[in-house]
């Protein structure tokens, strides 16, 4: 957990990545240096061996020429720290003429010319260059110049140390520098964080930061777009709550007024009865409004509801049976055409509310004696619920405003909440069905169609 937290810091992550990359590059460079240096060193030192050998041959020729023929070859003195690691032998025929003290008396290698790497019995590895004197001038002259390979290794190690050692000191310094630089570079992020942290929860104005880097602009733009959306949502919720409270005030005011009239009616029993009936009607209306509000609130909370396959025709039949008495009471004819089972996907409770609202509206807003025709059909392009009536219908203007919460078409005496259509729209949205309003061709009133697309 702690580890995750540490890694979740962008700053630490960047610094670690940066240092990792630097280390890898540095090590790579060291490796290349190693190979390059070894190669060059080999060539250089081999060159030196060859050079030394040719010097020995030349010198041997001069000695020979001078006639100084020493039977006992002298040991060359060791004059440098690397000298014990370098050895040479000069043979004339089988006779060892000259040698370094560390070379021994046996030939250093068994080849006569060229480079060879040999392992001596004492475990020391030597790089040996062998060459002969000129066949005519110095027949039988054989020179060996050898060098312990360990000396090359030491040189290489020294080279490598010089390459790698600075890294050891530089890395912590680099880490500090990177930490600072990354911190500076990420300052706009820090600023954004500070800005967001110091914000009030209600503050919805867009975030504005000076000198925003290009990389952060899409993020801040997305954040601002989100803020805007949230603000619109909060605003709409706030307006809805206010509207809802206001809408509830009117029925409550009506109940209060009617109750007070009933109290003051005295001996006027007709007025008393009238006021009491209206009081009850006011209660019913407030109840209806509250139910609609609750339905809407639940719908707003429900982003997706579990849906199942159900028979729309049967559902519409049930709802029609519930509403038929209301239609009969108004002398309206409610005709239902839903003989064929039509399976749709949806949540039964919601679809019942949808069907009830549509039919209830048709009954409520059509005059007494009107005709209401409800049908569930199965055309080729899906399944269709159609509710049409012979009522006054609606103007295009009213149709457009119908979805607004609490919008009620003027000039009707029906005590509606202005929420029914909002609920219908919301259910359609949640259930993924299409809603269409039109003038009824057959009956002349309003024609609402709900379409379930084929899937």
């Amino acid at each position: 957990m702690k580890r995750r937290q540490r890694w979740s810091s962008l700053r630490v992550r960047l610094v670690v990545l940066l240092l990792g990359v630097v280390t890898v590059v540095w090590l790579g460079a060291a490796l290349l240096t190693w190979y390059g240096a070894r190669h060059e060193l080999d060539e250089l030192l081999d060159g030196h061996l060859a050079q030394a050998a040719s010097l020995l041959i030349v010198q041997q020729a001069r000695i020979h020429h001078d006639g100084d023929d020493d039977e006992n070859p002298a040991d060359a003195p060791s004059l440098h720290k690397y000298a014990p690691m370098v050895a040479f032998q000069v043979f004339q025929g089988d006779r060892l003429v000259m040698h370094s003290s560390n070379a021994g008396r046996a030939a250093m290698a068994d080849l006569t010319s060229g480079f060879v790497t040999v392992d001596k019995p004492d475990g020391v590895q030597w790089r040996v260059f062998a060459t002969r004197g000129d066949a005519q001038a110095q027949p039988g002259l054989q020179v060996y110049v050898g060098e312990q390979t360990a000396s090359r290794g030491q040189i290489l190690k020294a080279v490598l140390k010089n390459v790698l050692l600075p890294l050891l000191f530089a890395l912590p310094l680099l880490a500090l520098a990177a930490l600072w630089a990354v911190g500076r570079g990420l300052l706009p992020l820090q600023q954004l964080g500070d800005t967001l942290r110091s914000r009030q929860p209600q503050a919805m104005e867009p975030i504005r930061l000076a000198d925003l880097p290009d990389e952060m602009q899409p993020m801040v733009a997305a954040l601002n777009a989100l803020l805007e959306k949230i603000q619109a949502m909060v605003e709409s919720e706030r307006r809805f709550t206010a509207d809802a409270a206001h809408e509830l005030r009117t029925p409550i005011a009506a109940i209060r007024a009617q109750a007070q009239v009933a109290m003051g009616a005295g001996a006027d029993s007709a007025q008393l009865a009238h006021a009491l009936v209206y009081t009850l009607a006011g209660c019913d209306r407030a109840t209806h409004l509250i139910e609609q509000l609750l339905t809407l609130a639940r719908l707003d909370a429900a982003r997706s509801l579990p849906s199942s396959s159900l028979d729309l025709a049967a559902l519409v039949q049930r709802v029609a049976a519930e509403l038929a008495p209301a239609a009969l009471a108004r002398g309206q004819t409610l005709e239902l055409d839903a003989s064929q089972a039509c399976l749709v996907m949806g949540e039964e409770g919601l679809l019942s509310v949808l069907a009830r609202n549509l039919m209830d509206n048709a009954i409520r807003y059509s005059p007494p004696g009107a005709a209401i025709h409800v049908a569930v059909r199965k055309p080729l392009d899906g399944i269709l619920l159609s509710v049409e009536d012979s009522g006054p219908g609606m103007s295009a203007q009213d149709m457009a405003r119908l979805g607004e919460r609490f919008y009620r078409v003027l000039g009707n005496d029906q005590p509606g909440s202005g929420l029914g259509w909002s609920i219908v729209q919301r259910i359609a949205e949640v259930s993924g069905v299409q809603l269409k309003l039109a003038k009824s061709a057959a009956l002349g009133g309003l024609h609402v169609t709900v379409t379930w697309p084929v899937n």
Partner: protein, 221 residues
């Protein structure tokens, strides 16, 4: 007192009308803004109760239009909109009072009486002319210490004359104070009620100005 009630909600409108009538107000009820403006412009009402959310014409627009036409009838705005900016807007638009739903009917009545009283420059609700005292809130009339029993119409007529004491009221003006819509106006109703008032109170209380109307002298204490 004749009051115009502008309210689009059927249940509330019915309740307010019945409640105001119980308190002796002659109440006419309109259900939209256009009708409210038309009726108030006629000038026959002593005061109006105006809902803001009216169909066809918003209450604010009705107020503004009336004040533009110099209609000075006191208007009480009765609304569900309770935000302070709305109240300020309503009062600035020319409302004389701003009441939030739901309202107590007696409070509404008292506020209406107060509005009418102030519109006539009175300080008190009760009106006096000589030894005749009219109590508007309780709808009682006293002559000296004695309670005088008047019919509703007689009281309304006396109230109208005393509210406008010192001014001559025409027969038409008085008729409008006696009848709300749907009531048949009898041709000699005003004369009959004036006759009864003179008999029940004092013969010299109400002066007849021939060809013009009736008047009550401005209140001597």
């Amino acid at each position: 007192m004749r009051i115009l009630l502008a309210e689009d909600d059927p249940l509330l409108g019915d309740g307010l009308q019945a409640g105001l009538r119980q308190q002796g107000f002659l109440t006419d009820w309109v259900r939209d803004g256009v009708a409210a403006e038309r009726e108030l412009a006629s000038g026959v009402y002593d005061a109006a109760v105006l809902d803001l959310g009216l169909p066809y014409k918003d209450g604010f627009d009705v107020l503004a239009a009336l004040r533009q036409q110099h209609v000075s009838t006191p208007i009480l705005v009765l609304t569900a909109r309770d935000a302070v900016p709305e109240r300020i807007r309503g009062l600035n638009a020319g409302a004389d009072d701003y009441v939030i739903k739901p309202v107590d009917l007696h409070e509404l009545g008292a506020r209406l009486r107060s509005l009418v009283r102030r519109a006539h420059g009175q300080v008190q609700d009760d009106l006096r002319s000589g030894n005749v005292l009219l109590e508007a809130a309780t709808r009682r009339v006293l002559m000296g210490d004695a309670l005088v029993t008047l019919s509703a119409r007689e009281f309304d007529l006396l109230h109208a004359l005393m509210r406008n004491a010192g001014r001559i009221m025409s027969r038409e003006q008085l008729e409008q104070q006696l009848y709300s819509w749907g009531h048949e106006v009898e041709s000699n109703a005003v004369e009959v009620h004036v006759h009864h008032l003179r008999r029940k109170l004092r013969p010299d209380l109400i002066q007849t100005v021939r060809g013009v109307g009736y008047s009550i002298a401005k209140g001597q204490a």
